[in-house]
């Protein structure tokens, strides 16, 4: 059975948008394809008429400083992101998350755009980007716009993007200032579904022995990737002592909605792991922030 009938190797963003708009049936952007093709083949997604390949669009593959932000192209392969000194400098959480996805063969093809476009509540790249307060750059026939990443998600697997008119072209992340740092951690299970039981991204700004600002994302803790704002608040202005961390963990457990997933983890275990991840991820970011 042909799951798509037309494959367009786009050469530019306008070319890709045109191909999307002019497709004679349902169309989809394809980047690495390591998830999308399997979703099509295994029937998790209905067949499409046209696939628009964006992997050759140079503007979507760059990782660079742009207007005092870090720009990461949506079609940059994960290995390129992992290897980028800019990402290592400004977005440690993203570097760590991308290094954990798949093996090298998958990372040579898979992209951050694909990771986000799938809108899964515990995608490693997405969780890291959420903690890093990323904005998504979206191209339409009418030009480009920026939107907070978090607004792209409607529900599990449901993206707010209009697939025939809009495409994700990249992500803008604030540059890291002195006293700021981030970290990403996850816990897996060796059997069954190869998706993190729980993953977490933490960004923080440190002044002396106090956290002055923090962003924490955790997945899966609801239908979409999300920030834990009450937990962030609970940490602000405080030093991450075990007492403070224990209190923050209590806030986190009240705030996050952990569920039991079949053959993956129970709510109880997720709650247990969340407290451990919070301590480990937060302290890693804290140490990094202190180191400059």
């Amino acid at each position: 059975m042909q799951l798509w009938r037309h494959y367009h190797l786009a050469q530019s963003i306008p070319d890709a948008l045109r191909a999307l708009a002019e497709a004679e049936g349902p169309a989809s952007i394809i980047a690495g394809g390591t998830d999308l093709l399997l979703d099509l083949e295994q029937g998790r997604r209905s067949p499409v008429h046209t696939l628009v390949d964006v992997t050759r669009i140079e503007a979507m593959r760059v990782v660079e400083i742009r207007n005092a932000s870090l720009f990461v192209g949506a079609a940059a392969p994960l290995n390129q992101i992992v290897a980028s000194p800019l990402v290592a400098e400004h977005a440690q959480a993203l570097n760590e998350a991308c290094a954990l996805i798949g093996g090298p063969q998958v990372r040579n093809a898979a992209t951050l755009g694909g990771n986000v476009a799938h809108a899964l509540p515990a995608a490693d790249g997405t969780i890291a980007l959420t903690a890093l307060n990323a904005q998504a750059e979206i191209a339409t026939q009418n030009g480009r716009r920026l939107t907070p990443l978090i607004d792209l998600f409607l529900g599990p697997g449901q993206s707010a993007l209009n697939p025939q008119e809009e495409m994700l072209t990249g992500f803008l992340l604030p540059l890291r200032a002195r006293g700021e740092a981030s970290a990403f951690r996850r816990v897996m299970r060796p059997q069954g579904v190869a998706i993190a039981i729980l993953n977490m991204g933490v960004w923080l700004r440190r002044e002396g022995d106090r956290i002055v600002k923090a962003r924490i994302s955790v997945g899966p803790s609801g239908p979409t990737p999300r920030r834990l704002r009450a937990t962030e608040q609970a940490l602000c202005g405080r030093s991450p002592t075990s007492q403070v961390l224990a209190e923050a963990a209590q806030t986190l457990l009240r705030e996050a909605r952990f569920r039991t997933s079949r053959h993956r983890a129970t709510t109880t275990y997720r709650q247990h792991v969340a407290a451990i991840l919070l301590e480990e991820t937060l302290l890693t970011a804290w140490e990094r922030a202190g180191a400059g």
Binding site: Q2, H6, E24, G33, P104, Q105, V106, V187, P190, G192
Partner: protein, 962 residues
């Protein structure tokens, strides 16, 4: 009408193609839009038209016939399809071919600088000389991934290698050897020096050929991509088959309507149960497995076949499947063996749900328990697991002009395939020829019929060759698994540790059909008190039919399950007695003169005590203080490390009164080469090397001059099933005897020619020494022919007779023994478990082939580790949840611990040069060694497999909260 390709322009073509159009009439009016792409493949520029949905793997394999690139899963999990695109490794199974436009693609066939001249890349050479090649199916992917790594990191650390090969799976799992081979190749590439040789030790007493390091005869073709597995074969006019499966675990078939499928253009045949010319059922012991389920008949598991289709393309066959209309009347599902035994459960087979009640009785258990100072009891559960051989099942049936049928298939029992195929066709067996192909792993999972009969039925119906290839999803659903078990163990001992009585009760889930269930569960039962001398034993096993996929042979054959139970219990007992767990085992271990549960007196070759001693020494040497006390590594207060130990024994051969014989033939040629032939199966384990070395030894000729031909029912005599760790012993003896008789024949000829007594003739390194002359063996072959003697001997070897269970005496003619110690590291916060080290001492008698031996040890340990930590074939009311490789997870190189193999060579008098079986024993003690180590590290007793990190974490959390 190809469009011209231009460097900077991507032209999307929109013209139609006849074939593409006919393929797609069903659901779209617009035609497919093919692309003309230009790329280089292995340094050759090519321009080719590709379909939009074609993957690079399909382009390479099906159209460029570069079949070295393998398809293991088609879901970006296994890495077998890895090729390099612009020097970077990618998975060609999820890489649209269109995307290769303008790229440089390198496959295994093009890796060597000058492949046509027979040159090898250092990686290819190192994989061959180090013994990293076993079944070979994953090897192209391993080598290509490693090639990319070495380009980037000429001096890789072990960590670099593990990161790079993280998702390139090897089920033979010689991961440590693969790592060493890559390091050796890296050295050669860096320095320009030859590839360093392996450090694997030979047998403690090497003979002329046996016991020394040799290259596998089939390794070369496996590293160059030349090796052909069944799916790599193409025949003109070949059709492609697909199977319509029931998809429900239990139902009565009301109606099957194939008329629409038959009417689809391009469909050559659609067959149902009505179309079977012979007997419908197949099976290895019991003919209870219908090839096709007809109207009014019972569906017993999701994989049951209702109809089969042959069409011009796999896509068309798939489309035809969707047009088959089926009505099923769902029935209540029996999802576990305990439920199956309840009197009110529905009956799945005519004789009910009990396949077999197996009993072992020795002494008087009631008396034993009453004399015991301590009695413990616990129930253990083991999971269903899948073989996950990397090569999914494939069969090609091809009618010949003479009216026969050839079936190309990777099968562990070619003659049983022939018998079962002929039976369903209603033909005499001789009319069918099974031509065994290289196998990408079997592990017991290629003993039963998979697609052989379906392909045969369709080939006979259409008169054309038919290929039936399973994808990973179908493979996981359809083929028999390892039995899930529930095992209750009651053990009684004296205060000094002497075992007084063991009582076990086992339930085995044999699934929908018998397969080898009765044999597997018999082995589980007879071995369920461990390799110990126990005066009073009672074991009862209920092998039950359920609506789960059938369960059959899987490396370890039931003993994997019962060893986990008894070895866990032995550790618990040691703790309760306040005794060292090694000491408890040593005290009760079987030794020469000991009597097994089934009443067999062990007269020789019992190396268990030495295995224990060797493992204990090495473990204590490495451990810091008491190996069973938890240690916290520096700077990691949340981690605990400890060791665990377990022992096992496993029969060699069929045993239990079954006649166990093998035939082998040797033939000497005038060019001085010898061919050894037997139908026994090479599934990666290295039988061809073993046969080669045994024949070479028996004739004192260089192994390179011995060719081995296997698995062809026309050309090779019946070596019997490749199961029960029997081939080295049984077929090995057949080859040895055939070669010995040939040698005697040669001696007779030379004796007459030179007028010397035969005993004066010596055979040394391929030459016959007689009366001062050195005669090449080819010359001897000529002499024999001149005398009218054929330099060819067929020998049928009968293994020593065995007795059925319950009659006492020798139930088996040999046993192998093993002890293993595992060091684990448990994360006390998350419950995650890592295995750091495994020390494996194995008594498999003489080491015939040291590299193959090491490969079996490493792979066996990894499989046992998977059984403990990663593998769980999850069923929900008869429906597989783990129906993809992404969900059925097997160990990768990142799971591989350091593995130390210690051969213990207690030779067996009747084994070839003293060898016993070893394929299974190496895998059996690993799981309980790991779970015992977990207990020593954190005090959580694992009584259910696989290990659940959640259970560990929550138990520890509850404990610290107290």
């Amino acid at each position: 009408m190809l469009n011209k390709w231009k460097l900077d322009t991507w032209i999307t073509l929109t013209f139609g193609r006849d074939q593409a159009a006919t393929c797609n009439t069903a659901h779209n009016k617009t035609p497919m839009s093919p692309h003309t792409i230009s790329l280089t493949v292995n340094k050759q520029a090519i321009i080719v038209e590709v379909d939009p949905s074609e993957t690079l793997a399909q382009l390479l394999r099906n159209r460029l016939r570069l079949t070295g690139t393998k398809i293991g899963c088609e879901e970006a999990e296994c890495g077998a399809c890895t090729v390099l695109v612009d020097d970077e490794p990618i998975l060609s199974c999820v890489y649209p071919a269109v995307r290769a436009q303008g790229r440089r693609v390198l496959t295994i066939e093009g890796l060597a600088p000058n492949p046509r001249a027979g040159e090898l890349h250092p990686l290819q050479e190192a994989f061959v000389t180090h013994g990293a090649v076993q079944c070979g199916f994953c090897i192209p992917g391993q080598i290509m991934t490693a090639a990319a790594l070495l380009r980037e990191k000429p001096h890789p650390t072990g960590e670099d290698i593990r990161k790079a090969l993280k998702d390139t799976l090897c089920r033979c799992a010689g991961y440590p050897t693969i790592e060493r081979a890559i390091q050796a190749a890296a050295h050669a590439l860096r320095t320009g020096e030859p590839v360093p040789p392996p450090t694997c030790p030979p047998s403690s007493e090497p003979l002329y050929a046996v016991g020394k390091l040799h290259k596998r005869p089939d390794a070369l073709e496996k590293v160059t991509g030349e090796a052909k597995y069944t799916d790599d074969l193409h025949f003109p006019g070949m059709l492609h088959a697909k199977v319509r499966r029931a998809g429900v675990p239990h139902a009565i078939v009301q109606r099957i309507d194939v008329s629409k499928a038959r009417a689809l253009p391009g469909v050559a045949a659609v067959l149902t149960a009505e179309d079977i010319p012979g007997e419908c059922n197949h099976g290895l012991v019991v003919y209870d497995w219908p090839s096709l389920i007809g109207e009014g008949e019972r569906v017993r598991y999701v994989g049951d076949a209702l109809a089969i289709v042959a069409a011009e393309t796999p896509e068309l066959a798939e489309e035809a499947l969707a047009l088959i209309e089926v009505e099923l009347d769902p029935q209540p599902v029996i999802s576990d063996p305990v439920q199956a035994r309840r009197p009110d459960s529905p009956k799945l087979h005519e004789n009910g749900n009990l396949l077999k009640h197996i009993k072992v009785r020795k002494g008087d258990p009631a008396k034993g328990f009453s004399e015991a100072d301590i009695v413990l009891e616990r129930t253990y559960h083991t999971a269903t697991t899948d073989h996950a051989f990397l090569e999914p099942e494939c069969a090609i049936a091809r009618p010949t002009e003479e009216g026969r049928l050839e079936v190309y298939v990777g099968s562990q029992i070619p003659y049983a395939d022939r018998h079962q195929i002929a039976r369903v066709l209603g033909w005499p067996e001789e009319r069918v020829r099974v031509v065994g192909q290289l196998m990408g792993g079997g592990f017991g999972g290629k003993e039963d019929i998979a697609g052989q009969i379906h392909a045969a039925l369709l080939a006979v119906a259409t008169g054309r060759p038919v290929k039936l290839l399973y994808d990973r999803h179908e493979s996981l659903i359809a083929h028999p698994k390892r039995h899930a078990t529930q095992i209750r163990v009651k053990i009684g001992a004296r205060r000094d540790g002497s075992l007084m009585a063991v009582e076990t009760e086992l339930y085995g889930d044999t699934g929908a059909y018998a397969s080898l269930g009765e044999k597997v569960m018999t082995r589980a039962t007879t071995h369920s008190a461990g390799p110990y001398e126990v005066p009073h034993v009672r074991a009862d096993c209920y092998a039950m039919y359920t609506n789960n996929p059938p369960a059959g042979a899987f490396r370890g054959f039931g003993v994997t399950q019962s060893a986990f139970a008894i070895e866990s219990m032995m550790d618990e007992l040691a703790e309760r007695l306040g005794m060292d767990p090694v000491e408890l085992r040593r005290k009760n271990a079987l030794r020469v003169g000991g009597v097994t549960n089934t009443g067999q007196v062990l007269r020789e070759s019992v190396g268990l005590l030495e295995c224990i001693e060797k493992v204990e020494d090495e473990m204590r040497r490495r451990a810091d203080g008491d190996p069973f006390e938890p240690k916290t590594p520096p700077h990691a207060p949340h981690l605990r490390r400890a060791w665990g130990l377990a022992v096992a024994y496993k029969n060699t051969g069929l045993g239990g009164g079954a006649p166990d014989k093998a035939r082998a033939e040797v033939e000497l040629f005038e060019d001085g080469t010898l061919e050894a032939r037997t139908s026994s199966a090479e599934l990666g384990q290295g039988l061809v090397t073993v046969i080669q070395l045994i024949a070479a030894e028996a004739l004192s000729m260089p192994p390179e001059r011995v060719r081995v031909l296997v698995m062809d029912t026309d050309l090779t005599p019946d070596g019997g099933p490749t199961t029960a760790s029997r081939q080295t012993y049984v077929t090995g003896n057949a080859v040895r005897m055939a070669a010995t008789v040939l040698r005697e024949g040669m001696a007779r000829t030379l004796a007459e020619r030179y007028d010397r007594p035969p005993h004066e003739i010596r055979f040394i390194e391929g030459l016959a020494h007689v009366n001062g002359h050195k005669v090449p063996l080819g010359e001897v072959a000529r002499m024999m022919k001149a005398e009218g003697r054929e330099p060819r001997v067929l020998y049928e070897y009968w293994a020593p007779e065995t007795k059925p269970l319950g009659q006492g005496g020798d139930m088996h003619f040999a046993f192998s023994f093993a002890a293993q110690a595992a060091e684990v590291e448990v994360n006390t916060l998350t419950g995650e478990v890592r295995v750091l080290t495994v020390i494996a001492a194995t008594d498999a008698g003489k080491v015939i082939n040291p590299l193959g031996y090491l490969g079996q040890v490493e792979g066996g340990v990894m499989m046992g580790l998977g059984n403990a930590l990663t593998e769980h074939f999850i069923l929900e009311q008869g429906r597989p949840f783990t129906d993809r490789m992404a969900r059925y997870r097997i160990p990768s190189i990142v799971h591989a611990p350091e593995i130390i193999s210690i051969p213990v060579e207690h030779v067996s008098k009747d084994g070839p040069y003293g060898a016993k079986g070893m394929g299974e024993i190496v895998s059996i003690p690993t799981t309980p060694a790991i779970t015992n180590a977990i207990y020593h590290a954190v005090g959580v007793r694992i009584d259910r497999l696989p290990v659940d990190q959640e259970q560990i974490a929550l138990a520890l959390a509850a404990r610290s909260a107290r």
